[in-house]
Symmetry: D2
Subunit: 281 residues, 4 copies
């Protein structure tokens, strides 16, 4: 392993260790064209050299032999056998509101609490969130309920503050291609929940994840939250076909956000549940 990484560095490239179930993959970036396989022949511990032709190299399904499991808190994982359920308010508004929501999530069997302390709003005059006070309320709710906290980070300036309080750093849809922010969370030790942009293709979502991964943070969770189409009867168009494709294309876990996807409370259960086709009404 070390020998292989050293060789990669000698060649002027960057090695990325990606631990798998049966073996550890070493992703290589920084090369312009293909790398001749014999540069690595004879190195102890190297089983195989796989050329990844897609532009997202490290998050590609081929890059490792197992699916990535992200542990967002001790025993709370996503990407494995467990189905992660996350609930909570859009914005943190008051202690009462957060506590009530957190207890409801806990009681309903949810595994994590979400809520926005920093809100990137379409209008400069809309409520922009309680900021640090909101983060403190989320942390207090975690104390009480034991639920880890997922919350949005909206810029590099406030990233250190959000990192201090949150368990998972959420990158919002509008920031999916804010590359400076992606690189910043790529250097964080906290897991990242990356939401698909309103009109981002599946490929662009994977490339955004690659930005984070390439900086060293391998704890990336993708999130389908609905795309923008001509349809106005629903808030967005939840693209569940994209989830199917993503599971084929990447080893990263994929989350679904049915609330933003449809925009009405009565759509959440059918879109998330296991028997929506018959039950939906």
């Amino acid at each position: 392993m070390d020998a292989a990484c050293a060789r990669v560095r000698e060649l002027g490239f960057t090695p990325h260790e990606i631990p798998g179930a049966g073996r550890t993959a070493i992703g290589i970036t920084g090369n312009e064209g293909g790398i001749p396989p014999d540069l690595f022949s004879g190195l102890p511990g190297v089983a195989q050299l796989i050329a990844v032709t897609r532009p997202y190299k490290l998050v590609d399904r081929e890059a490792t032999d197992s699916s990535t499991v992200v542990e967002i808190a001790p025993g709370v994982t996503v990407g494995g056998e467990q189905l992660l359920v996350v609930g909570g308010p859009c914005s943190v508004e008051s202690r009462d509101q957060v506590m009530t929501a957190a207890r409801a999530v806990r009681k309903g069997g949810g595994h994590a609490l979400r809520g926005g302390a920093f809100k990137p709003r379409t209008s400069p005059y809309a409520f922009q969130g309680l900021k640090e006070q909101g983060l403190e309320l989320l942390a207090e709710a975690r104390e009480t309920t034991g639920l880890p906290v997922v919350t949005e980070v909206k810029d590099t300036e406030t990233l250190p503050m959000v990192e201090r309080w949150a368990d998972v750093l959420q990158i919002g849809a509008r920031n999916m291609q804010n590359y400076s922010l992606l690189e910043a969370v790529g250097s964080s030790t906290k897991p990242v929940l990356l939401k698909r942009g309103l009109s981002a293709t599946i490929k662009e979502l994977l490339l955004a994840a690659e930005y984070i991964f390439a900086k060293g943070n391998q704890q990336v969770i993708l999130c389908e939250r609905g795309i923008r189409t001509f349809e106005t009867a629903t808030r967005n168009t939840l693209d569940l076909g994209a989830v199917v494709m993503l599971k084929r294309m990447t080893h990263l876990p994929v989350d679904v956000d049915p609330s933003h996807g449809i925009g009405v409370w009565y759509g959440v259960t059918p879109l998330a549940s296991q028997d929506w086709i018959v039950e939906a009404r």
Copy 2:
């Protein structure tokens, strides 16, 4: 009932009887503005006058007290408790192909066979279907397997021929706003499977169904088959949020076509099955 319908006709409007579980609704069309309730007061058997404000009056959920159940063959229904599974080839190409497909559908637990004898193709030089010979092959497969046949009708000229052989008349996505065809199948005695247009809104789909319903054919099944968006990794974007909305907005049954929705075989099961979120790969 008769008295109420007679009164509707006297007023110069058109009555549409829509049988429900507990009572029969009489949809009224042809009126320009609202109808004063007292025009119907005192008539025997009239329980209530409900103003439907939406432009699709007869297919609106409010128009009747129960969901429409369409029986496509004796004992084969859609819209009730049973989940209808339809399978088969895109186009009918040969006896062998149809028979093999029909037997596979039967064996797999499917309830109906689909296949195109008339194919509306983007290119004038593409195979346009086996036409009547294709219909005969479908009918032969029905004889052998007992599966009712769903097949597309592409114009009013060939409607009588398709009606003769098919159990369900399919209106393709490109014909969803072919109003002359909608009116023609509205006068048929066969059930109609109406596919959503590539860029049709939910409201436009309901209005297309209203065209059929208004002509007297109440056996209409809606079908979500994916819409056209910016995403190119999937063939279409299957809009399952629309299914949720449709079940709220109309009493008609709603079908999902995952094959056209995603365009790859490995996406069909996850998109149709009950545990796609975890299983999708």
Copy 3:
């Protein structure tokens, strides 16, 4: 020429003569793969064999050496030097309305009158047009003003009636992929104005034109009228980039419909005029 066409028929294919400025092209359809050039060598009058690789063969820019000029009335052309201006009401509603509009078009320097006698409406309860009476009013306006008439044909049943009165047969956006109707107008002797479908790609528009062309009617005018996107501030999104591409891709004339494209009166002049960038307000 005749020898070449005869040879094409002998081979089991269909020849299509497309007259050009300097020479006449013979489009060949019905072949599955490429045609060996030597099958035509030595034939008198054959200058060149050009393989058209695009799926739209006859309307492809390569198919002929000059742009198609369609004469919609004596001296009124589109596709040449003249800029064709067409005006008129959405639907024909009354003699007064049509006459007033026709005179305004004439006075404003327009070259043709448009107006719908058959209206394919989203709702079955909306006004569907004055039908034959509307056609008669349009013809009367033509008598008075000398303006040729462009009007929509919505189905094959009423095509003979529309053909009798109209100078140009319009295929509406919702019927762009109604292939039976395309084939029917392909057998007409009247020019066809083919409107782009709401979510039709440029390629699909060309293939729809190919349907008409392949049936023998070479007088086809394409029309960009706006596509359906996520934007709701304008009625549609007028795709002027598509016009640029179409002029490169096909020898057919291309029209623009700014009224449907933007949906507000004050947008028509800026979108159609020659100095919209500065003047638009």
Copy 4:
């Protein structure tokens, strides 16, 4: 004026002076509901109190009596009578390339030079720009040709550096809703060219401009550069209808970027020129 601003501040709101041709408007933000007119009655110099009901208050056409003219360099304006033509390479790659391009722009009658020194790229492995060295080359080209420089700022960290060298700060499409960056350039003294996001509505573009304006920078130029739709034959769909609407809706100048809009060199002139309808080929 001062009295009016003082009153606004006394009420706990924020005044924004917007100089116009005949009078100066004072935009008020920070109020939740409407403001009773009599709070300002009797104040010297106050002509009128206009309630702006749209969510973008300061950039709304109603907010002032004249169009905003932005001067990007002495004598080089946009928003007035002059048509501003900007040219240059996508990325700055070398001294030679920039100089050649700058001289061509100058010779062709262009008024400003554009070129990217910081490039937000979809892939983390793509060339990210020459950074400060690129800015220096742009400045050198300005020295030689006299053309002011428009260049992208991609994050708040590098804003001070870009501000030092550039004449106009460009906010790229992917950053249109990067609100922290919008606020940062809102505090700059340099004019801002704000590009419309790939799937941003007209309203969202105006709200993004409002973010900048609300921070005090009134030198904002909007830019339509094509939106993302289902069409793949062109790189984007240039939405010229949006330009028409924007000129009605806001007093800010609106630029068009035909290069990104269509993505092929031969489309730039037709889309930008004054007689595109006939000339486009």
